[in-house]
């Protein structure tokens, strides 16, 4: 009899060793040095903002990518995959080896990052919810882009931030997270909210409120795929693409939830936290929820203060946080990489193996049931540790460059260097805290 694993460990399995202290310190030091180097080499004119360093995708490739058949091929793939996993979710045995769990918590959530970096807005292309709303519109003869009302643009990404929080709460706090009923409930609520929202506001709702689309769209800003002003497909340097992130209201909230939740995920593994929770077991959910919210709020507020402390007279001060928030995206990607790399590679392989047996009764429909996960990463902890630190430091470097480039466009010439110190310190703070958390667990 296999009992579902306890919430302390999500989907179980051994975790990574903590980063060795010298490596963590070297990483923090490198981040600090790099930040001041970028500041010191302060270029005076924005290199990525508004300068169209882009190349239009060759017509041959563009006609394939824009073809309806290409779009619908991926929509069908997404829908079939969703159907398969739903089958496992609804009809499969309620055990920790049910592939619906691994898919929901590992393949989709962590997989969004590498797929979006490589291919752009993958969630949008594969989203079963979007496909369902498109089919619904076809069936009723309506335009999917139009709902009963227009989406109020001053809401921006706020609904997405709330839905993302709902996801990370489910992933990190909910004690029933590995029980199938809990995942079914979450997905049912998610589907309802998405479909009702898109009926009310058109499919723009999905781009603003669907947590997976919002997450994927933001990570895709670091890919090379973009669209120009004439809405043609272009290939751009990731930094230029990042600079084109639409500075919508709620962007900072989304970024704060993504980073804060990953930091909370590390923090809750620390021995002192575990002991504290055990002593207060009766209020475990309340404490964890408050802590998760706290982490997100700390990230959001610290960034907000640092951004607003930047001297400026070209834009209103309160617009600054969302004009600078895009620069946290590379830090998030670097930290997600470091935190989840081995989990994704190893638990991901285990999930692919489980997908062949959706009802958890010994079937092997796609032939992967006999596959042995390759545990190379875990067997080489030094390589893993160095890769993690390089990922975090690289994410930090890209973030500082992006923030500097935007600041140079917004700040008056006399304040180019001094005006950014606050932002710089906050970003160094994030990176060093991230490294500390990877070292301390």
């Amino acid at each position: 009899m296999i009992t579902p694993v306890l919430p302390l460990h999500g989907l179980g399995g051994a975790q990574d060793l903590p980063l060795p202290a010298p490596l963590a310190i070297a990483g923090g030091g490198a981040a600090l040095v790099l930040s001041f180097c970028v500041l010191g080499l302060a270029w005076r004119k924005s290199r990525y903002d508004g300068r169209d360093r882009e190349r239009v995708v060759p017509p041959g490739l563009a006609s394939v990518l824009d073809h309806a058949a290409w779009e619908w091929f991926w929509r069908v793939v997404g829908l079939v995959f969703f159907g398969w996993v739903t089958w496992a979710l609804v009809a499969g045995a309620d055990r920790a080896t049910n592939p619906a769990l691994g898919t929901f918590y590992v393949l989709v959530w962590v997989g969004i990052v590498p797929l979006s970096l490589a291919f752009g807005r993958v969630a949008r292309a594969l989203s079963p919810v979007r496909t369902l709303t498109l089919l619904l519109s076809r069936a009723t003869g309506t335009d999917p882009r139009k709902g009963l009302f227009t989406y109020p643009e001053r809401l921006g990404y706020w609904p997405g931030a709330v839905m993302l929080f709902a996801y990370v709460w489910q992933e990190l706090v909910n004690p029933d997270q590995v029980m199938l009923f809990s995942v079914r409930l979450w997905l049912a609520a998610y589907l309802a909210i998405m479909i009702v929202g898109s009926t009310l506001f058109g499919d723009r709702w999905l781009s603003r409120a669907d947590p997976f689309e919002v997450y994927s769209d933001l990570v895709a800003r670091l890919s090379v795929w973009g669209r120009d002003r004439q809405d043609r497909r272009v290939i751009r340097s990731p930094l230029a693409n990042l600079a084109h992130t639409p500075p919508l209201p709620g962007l900072l909230a989304v970024v704060a939830v993504l980073f804060g939740s990953t930091a909370f995920d590390s923090a809750r593994e620390m021995i002192r936290w575990v002991q504290f929770i055990e002593e207060n077991r009766a209020h475990e959910v309340l404490i964890n929820t408050t802590a998760l919210l706290g982490f997100c709020v700390v990230v959001g507020v610290s960034f907000q203060l640092a951004a607003m402390a930047t001297q400026v007279d070209l834009v209103p001060r309160r617009d600054l946080p969302r004009l600078l928030a895009h620069s946290v995206i590379p830090i998030i990607v670097g930290y997600m990489f470091a935190h989840y790399l081995s989990y994704f590679v190893e638990q991901g392989q285990a999930t692919v193996q489980q997908l062949s047996d959706p009802l958890v009764r010994g079937d092997d429909y796609i032939g992967t049931a006999g596959m042995e996960p390759n545990l190379w990463l875990s067997l080489h902890p030094t390589f893993l540790a160095v890769t993690k630190v390089l990922g975090v430091v690289l994410g930090h470097l890209v973030a500082v460059v992006a923030a500097h480039d935007r600041a140079v466009r917004l700040l008056p010439a006399r304040a180019h260097v001094t005006g950014q110190i606050g932002m710089l310190l906050v970003m160094v703070g994030y990176t060093i805290s991230g490294l500390y958390l990877l070292f301390g667990t």
């Binding site: 051994a14 060793l17 070297a26 002991q275 055990e278 902890p381 667990t441």
Partner: protein, 147 residues
């Protein structure tokens, strides 16, 4: 300095810093991880069964852990212990009830125990952090750091 040349220079400086940083930490883990691969692939399901079975070829000397279970109170309480890959870890459990420990290794293992004394052995085939929890009380017994 022109930004174009400065960036690669800075990246080299960073790489140098990191390499010095990891140079110190690198040596201790390499030996252990290479010898672990053989154990990991040949025994895909490392199940434990009391009484202990030991078939350890030339492995480091084992660790013994005294475990007591009194109702919902466990000793040790969320202790962190460093062990080697392949090391034999003996759990001497004295309990006043039935229960089981979930060992969150890859793959997962379970150590059932009953009232009285139980002995079990654990062995981890690869580096990582393995938590051992008691099923009914949801409490963390020990965190093994396997190197």
């Amino acid at each position: 300095m022109h930004p174009r040349f400065a960036r690669p220079l800075v990246v080299c400086a960073v790489a140098a810093m990191l390499l010095t940083g990891c140079g110190e930490s690198g040596q201790d883990t390499e030996g252990a991880s290479d010898s672990a691969s053989a154990t990991a692939t040949t025994t895909p399901a490392e199940s434990t069964s009391p009484p202990a079975t030991s078939s350890a070829p030339a492995e480091p000397a084992g660790t013994t852990l005294q475990v007591t279970v009194k109702g919902d109170d466990l000793t040790p309480k969320a202790e962190q212990i460093k062990v080697d890959v392949g090391e034999e870890i003996t759990l001497d459990i004295t309990a006043d009830r039935e229960g089981e420990f979930h060992v969150h290794s890859t793959p997962e293992q379970t150590v059932p125990f009953g009232p009285g004394k139980t002995t079990a052995t654990l062995k981890f085939g690869r580096p990582g952090v393995v938590d051992v929890e008691e099923h009914d009380s949801h409490k963390l017994l020990v965190k093994f750091e396997v190197r």
